[in-house]
Amino acid sequence: MTAITVEGLQKAYGPKAALDGLDLTVPQGAVHGVLGPNGAGKSTLVRILSTLLRPDSGRAEVAGYDVTAHPDEVRYRIGLLGQHAAVDEQLSGLQNLEMFGRLYHLGGKAARARAAELLEQFGLGETGRKAIAQYSGGMRRRLDLAASLIMAPKILFLDEPTTGLDPRGRTEVWQAVRSLVDGGTTVLLTTQYLEEADQLADRISVVDHGRVIADGTAAELKAELGGDRIDVVVHDAARLVAAAAVVGKAAKAPEYEIETDPDARRVSAPVADRIGALTETVQGLAAAGIEAEDIALRRPTLDEVFIHLTDGGPADTEEVRA
């Protein structure tokens, strides 16, 4: 059973295409991460799926209903947590949740009861009567999430849910999301933070220029980079180029796969034979008289996957021209 189906979705703002034929399938109960830089089309996707925006063409189904043909059926079944707190700042937490409950047509009594219950669940019971303007960023986000959950939606859209939050607020949101997922909610999460996608998502779609450029689990995406890498930090930045030659030879990696970072005095290269490459690197550096501060073998990070995937595409060339 699929919760979200997206086929060939297109949306342009004037001449600028925000979505350019995006495809996506999310099975029920999954957490799907949509990862991409600013302007990749992530928010446009969420706004279309949550019925805020009409697509130019293509098809989007949420909970079995087409978002343009049956928006109200979709609206009863989704929760939306956008980039900015979507609550009425001038009202209290209780007033907000009761108002939203009424607008979901629960009736006054049920709306009040549900509001009180959600405030308790989100640890906002004591501050329920205070105006939101006096809430901290994390509290506001929690109330926002509570408002998204009034109907216990089957599908929840989280559009960069932790942008602008401190580490503690971020952890709070992550915990809440995990708890929801345990309860069977399908979550579509957009993020610029690779760590966030890695932490929360079962599968990740990497989006750039309005299209999915890679799709898979975090492990699969990392594997695309060719497995493990070796990192060497040299003592003297002047020896970095020499070190890169040694590491490249030891790792048997082609020259374009070797990355050097002068600021961190680091050379990084993909390796196939872990121990062989490590041994040869140590010996090679000693023979060339290069002093190393750190040598390590590691899995690639999602950051590297992302840079690898988005690097050198036609769009980047355009940006250089502009």
């Binding site: 805020l52 939306l80 900015h84 979507a86 609550v87 108002m99 607008l103 979901y104 708890s179």
Partner: protein
């Protein structure tokens, strides 16, 4: 934090006709506006005091130097004019409040919910109209305290109040339209500045007959002038010399025609613009 206990979620929300929900949701949104007042009464009280202050400034400070054509009592002329001016300035309130709402995330929540599409605008209308009724009563009270009286029948006085509120209703939809078009608080600033010259280029506080000829004609045709003159007429107050121009002679008619015309133009434009937020 456990989120599994959703004891109070009803199996299914109540179903009803679209019209029922338009009324219920519109009322929920109106209550939201009232809740804002209750939580932050300061700006509302300041707004009321401002209109009373404007009235006292014009009467006690400028009043001595004001001459109306025909030489009648300025108070008789001024107070209905101030009522019309206050209704017209309601445009600012509507535009400011709507723009603030549109620029906050909460509008996205409303639009992602299965509530009646009309509710946001219905709530805005009812809240603003209620505020204007209060504003009118306070200004009329202030006028009475200053010695102003109406001389006509109670029915005619009520008709005057009705025409004043009709002007406010027209300004409401103009304000909603401008708020949707401008979208940003900076644009509200421009309108806030422009309402003053446009407001004064009318018969609200001075006789157009005392202005340079062509300017006086524009002032006479200002929709606000029609309402001000009609209110003076219905309250049985001093009209000032009318100079026999057609639009002044037919002020009561024009006080109905102008707002209805404005509503006929800006109501559909505003609704269309609101529906197009999803484009």
């Amino acid at each position: 934090m456990s989120l599994q206990t959703d004891a109070t979620i009803p199996g299914k929300p109540a179903r009803g006709s679209a019209l029922t929900w338009a009324v219920v949701d519109g009322w929920t949104m109106t209550r939201r506006g009232f809740a804002h007042w209750a939580r932050q009464p300061g700006p509302q009280i300041a707004g009321l005091l401002f209109s009373v202050m404007l009235l006292t400034v014009f009467y006690y400070l400028f009043g001595g130097g004001m001459t109306i054509e025909g030489g009648g009592d300025y108070k008789e002329f001024l107070i209905p004019g101030m009522l019309a001016l206050t209704m017209a300035f309601g445009l600012e309130t509507t535009m400011t409040e709507l723009t603030q709402d549109l620029n906050k995330g909460v509008i996205d929540r409303f639009r992602s919910m299965p509530m009646a599409r009309s509710a946001v605008l219905v709530g805005r209308s009812l809240t603003d109209m209620a505020q204007s009724v209060v504003g009118l009563l306070v200004l009329i009270g202030a006028g009475l305290a200053m010695g102003w009286r109406w001389h006509g029948s109670a029915g005619a006085a009520l008709a005057a109040v009705g025409l004043l509120l009709l002007l406010r209703f027209a300004m409401l939809w103009l304000g909603i339209f401008l708020g949707l078009v401008a979208g940003r608080p900076e644009m509200v600033m421009a309108v806030q500045i422009l309402v003053w010259p446009i407001g004064f280029l009318s018969s609200a506080i001075t006789s157009p007959g005392m202005m340079p000829g062509w300017l006086g004609t524009i002032a006479e045709w200002n929709p606000m002038s029609a309402t001000a003159t009609a209110a003076r007429d219905l309250f049985g107050n001093d009209l000032g010399a009318t100079g026999g121009s057609w639009v002044v002679e037919h002020a009561v008619l024009m006080a109905a025609v102008w707002p209805v015309l404005l509503i006929a133009v800006f109501f559909p434009l505003a609704v269309r613009k609101y529906q197009r937020l999803s484009r």
